[in-house]
Amino acid sequence: MSDALIVAALLLTAFMATAVVLTRDPARQAIVLSGYGLVLAVLFVVLQAPDVAMSQTGVGTVVVPLIVMLAVHAIRRHHTREPDERDDS
């Protein structure tokens, strides 16, 4: 039973990590990153690590996504040069 839970949590983590990487727009990526932080925290609880889950919840779902959002905001202010026309696939 608990093994099945761990496998499910690990697969969900791998899926969310891929989702974070494939989200190319940083503003959207911050939101997906927040979800990834939450999934990681759930995985850590399942792996019997409540201390680690606690710090992951605080850092991964609040602090880092907030900093990413603020950085995106600050950068948008300075964006003078338009990206060249290259296919962005």
Binding site: S2, D3, I6, V7, L10, L11, T13, A14, A17, T18, V20, V21, L22, R24, P26, Q29, A30, L33, Y36, L40, L43, F44, L47, Q48, A49, P50, D51, V52, S55, Q56, V59, G60, V63, V64, I67, V68, A71, V72, A74, I75, H78, H79, T80, R81, P83, D84, R86, D88
Partner: protein, 114 residues
């Protein structure tokens, strides 16, 4: 057989590295780096896990009870918090790059002139 589970942190690491290499935006690259870093947390904690064992906190269980490996948890715990400030530092550098050069696309930042 059950070692297949250790391949998942490897996948997360490779996904993060792929994101960094193909990134068109430095903020995206920094976030991908933090994803690659999170692979180490997953690897350490899966190695430290033990079946039928509980969390290493002895306030309400007998000292003879089996617990999972506390050492890897302690290492992961500090690294998560320290890693967040390092991510913040990298993002601060990115903001500075945007200020100086007006772009955060690594392909437009080839030369080192200010």
């Amino acid at each position: 057989m059950s070692q297949f589970l250790y391949l998942i942190p490897g996948w997360i690491l490779l996904a993060g590295v792929y994101g960094i290499v193909t990134s068109r935006n430095l903020v995206h690259a920094v976030v991908c780096l933090s994803v690659a870093q999170s692979a180490t947390y997953v690897l350490l904690l899966t190695i430290g896990y033990q079946r039928k064992a509980t969390a290493p906190v002895f306030s309400d269980i007998k000292p003879t009870r089996n617990v999972v490996d506390p050492l890897v948890q302690a290492m992961t715990l500090t690294d998560i918090v320290v890693g967040a400030t390092v991510t913040a530092l990298l993002l601060a550098l990115t903001v500075q790059v945007a200020k100086r050069r007006g772009t955060v696309d690594p392909d437009d930042l080839r030369s080192l002139e200010p």
